[in-house]
Amino acid sequence: MPRMRIGLALVAAVALLALAGCGSGSSSSSSAAGGGTTSSAATTSAASTGTGTSASGSTGTTASGGTTAAVSSCGPKPGTKATGSPINIGTIDTHQPGTDFTDGPNMIQAYFNCVNDNGGVNGHPLKLFVQLDQTQPAQITAAAHKLIQSDHVVAIDGVFDLLECTLDQSYWKQLGIFEMDAGIAPECWSTPNSAAVNMGPRYSSDGAVQYALDVVGAKKIVFVQSNVPGTGYIAAGPSAVAKSKGVPITELTENVPINDPNSVALNLVNAAGPNGSVVLNFTPPQALPILQAAQKLGLEDRVKSWGCSTPCDTDFVAKALGPKWNKKLFVNAEAVDADDHNGPEIQNYKAILAKYGQNVAGGIGSFSQFGYLLSKFLVQALNTVKGPYTIKSVNTAIEGIKDYKSEQLCQPWTYGKLALHIPNNSDYTVTPQDGKMVTAQGCTPISAADPQIAQYRSAAKAAGIS
């Protein structure tokens, strides 16, 4: 019998090994960035190489002409590896079961690798230091201190995190750091030392509700999101937008993970009624089961339309839903649908993803698009720095970012000296079309009925920002 046990153990071990080859990809923290080695790059000089370029189109990704699609356009010297002292950049990102934002930093690492293989930034390679967290406040604040004190980073770029903006704002303000992120927490948009390339859950939900009201003509909105702290802040936006049109809105929350999507779908449809629209603010692991449950129960046509904030803007959602949802589900998209466009910048993004983005498990999608934009804008800002790359010089350049153009956003991106930053406040709407997300509506400004949008536009106008 002991032999039998050993045999069974071996069978189990072999089975697990076989399964290891069966997974869809590996986890992806940027190992190149996590070494935690110290460096004196905080005083790396830009002037030493004499190759400084202006901000506009310095990475070659916005210039006209087909050649910009090639990865060689990432830097000023195609094919030449950057050999100078590294410029250290830090990021903090959520990585926990069920909430894995590492596609963001992995895309940034891919972009940096491309830049480093093509001359770097004024001859200096970019080195990314990634701190991953599990939504523990102490861990996140410690990560911020480690990046500054041990890793000697000169900028915080590409933060994809649930809590970071909330916890580290005062520290960044104290150091004079202007972080660039694709955030979730309210402070990513409402504070002076943070600016995001994404719109986040509130303004993205605003956009989804706005589409249901203005285009679909919904007479009632049912807005549902996770039952977690902070949802009141998010719901305030859609609520203001609906009320400005005189349309009633019902705000619901659901515990996640959702254990009974059938009942949830049924409840939403009953609440909305035949002339209403249901708007979901969930990530695909929660949104998809609700939409599929609605389809199984034959509920997809019982409301005027279904809407969703940006996280649903992925082809795997469109593919999983199938053609029954063509032009029934309308998803707010904070950036252009990369499958639907093919300009020079999108070609460059795809080329970098193909050559350097092996760790970007989700491939083409909003996470990697935002990672690309955060890297691109940072590199453009770094190219404007004259003299040593210090926290002060680099963050002055970041704060000074003004009207950086991108094919992927509806409007030029600006940081600026403002009390709050919502530079991405105009969006697209996409809809499933036979297994792919396609554009349903072009660039549309988010309604200023949301008081925070109104406040930002007023402040930006006063500061001369378009």
Partner: protein, 308 residues
């Protein structure tokens, strides 16, 4: 407004409530399936298998992988899922179940948490959720069904309920009338005496582990379709089945079945009640607590196996 008045005001009409009860029946059926699988193993080996959900989730993810990345026929992939459940559970039972056979039942139960964590870790490694990645399994039976009132009941819903009933009936008859079932019942009473009577106890235990794993695999596929193909969600859905088993004092298969159905129906039925909807995840705990406090107040519940 007094909470009770608020509750009364937010109660839906019977007509509005009916569709939720229908959806709850299917979920209750799968909870019953899982609960019965756990009870049979417990009665035979004294192990309350907390890895039941993780095994099912792992099997379902393997099926998803085989269908979407290897192009395997989906029915074959579901068969692989079910067999995976049987094999991994049997392997655990033969290696660790035997090693822990003489330990306290609490130790044996806690050890299955180890398997749960290992499986969860491997699932997170192999099937990451980067970029908001989501997966789903859609059984062909989802495309067929009939209307009950205003809602569509799919064949999968019916299968979930019917499989729960069939497994419960089959297990009852199996334990009562088959030679292996009789041996399992004997082992539940006294393993050592059963062994001295010449019953091949290890083979009987192996059968129980394998059977439990098979049921875990079937539950995994059904729950992946009815709820979501998500490792964490499926792993912890076992709590509802566990609550049903606790209500049955870890002994009665039929009480487990009924309790699981009630949990599923109450959970779904509370959804349209605005003042309670965010608390409905507590349903298994509340019902188990009520049952343990009142229905069994003159008896004791123990992880030691009961005579039956």
């Amino acid at each position: 407004v007094h909470p009770l008045i608020h509750l009364a005001l937010s109660l839906p009409s019977w007509q509005d409530e009916q569709p939720f009860l229908v959806t709850g029946l299917a979920l209750g059926g799968v909870y019953a399936l899982s609960g019965v699988g756990m009870i049979v193993l417990f009665r035979t080996t004294g192990v309350l298998n907390l890895s039941f959900g993780a095994v099912g989730a792992f099997g379902a993810l393997i099926a998803w992988q085989l269908i979407n990345h290897s192009g395997m026929n989906q029915w074959l992939a579901y068969l692989v899922c079910v067999l995976f459940g049987g094999v991994i559970t049997l392997a655990y039972g033969m290696v660790f179940g035997r090693a822990l056979a003489d330990r306290d039942p609490l130790v044996k139960t806690t050890a299955t948490l180890g398997l749960t964590l290992v499986l969860l870790g491997v699932m997170d490694l192999l099937w990451t959720s980067n970029g908001g990645m989501s997966r789903s399994i859609t059984l062909p039976t989802d495309n067929h069904g009939f209307l009950v009132g205003q809602i569509q009941v799919t064949t999968t819903d019916v299968i979930a309920l019917v499989v729960g009933i069939v497994i419960t009936v089959f297990t009852t008859l199996f334990l009562r009338y088959s030679k292996l079932g009789t041996a399992m019942r004997a082992m539940a009473n006294d393993r050592e005496i059963t062994a001295t009577l010449g019953v091949p106890v290890r083979r009987v235990e192996a059968s129980a582990w394998f059977g439990c794993g098979i049921v875990a695999g079937i539950s995994g596929i059904l729950l992946a379709d009815l709820v979501a193909l998500d490792a964490t969600t499926l792993t912890f859905l076992v709590i509802s089945s566990l609550a049903a088993a606790l209500i049955a004092r870890l002994s009665s298969i039929w009480v487990t079945f009924v309790a699981a159905i009630v949990i599923g129906v109450v959970d779904a039925g509370v959804t349209p009640i605005t003042s309670l909807t965010n608390y409905r995840d507590m349903t298994p705990f509340v019902l188990a607590a009520i049952a343990l406090l009142f229905l069994n107040r003159k008896r004791t519940l123990s992880l030691e196996r009961q005579r039956f």
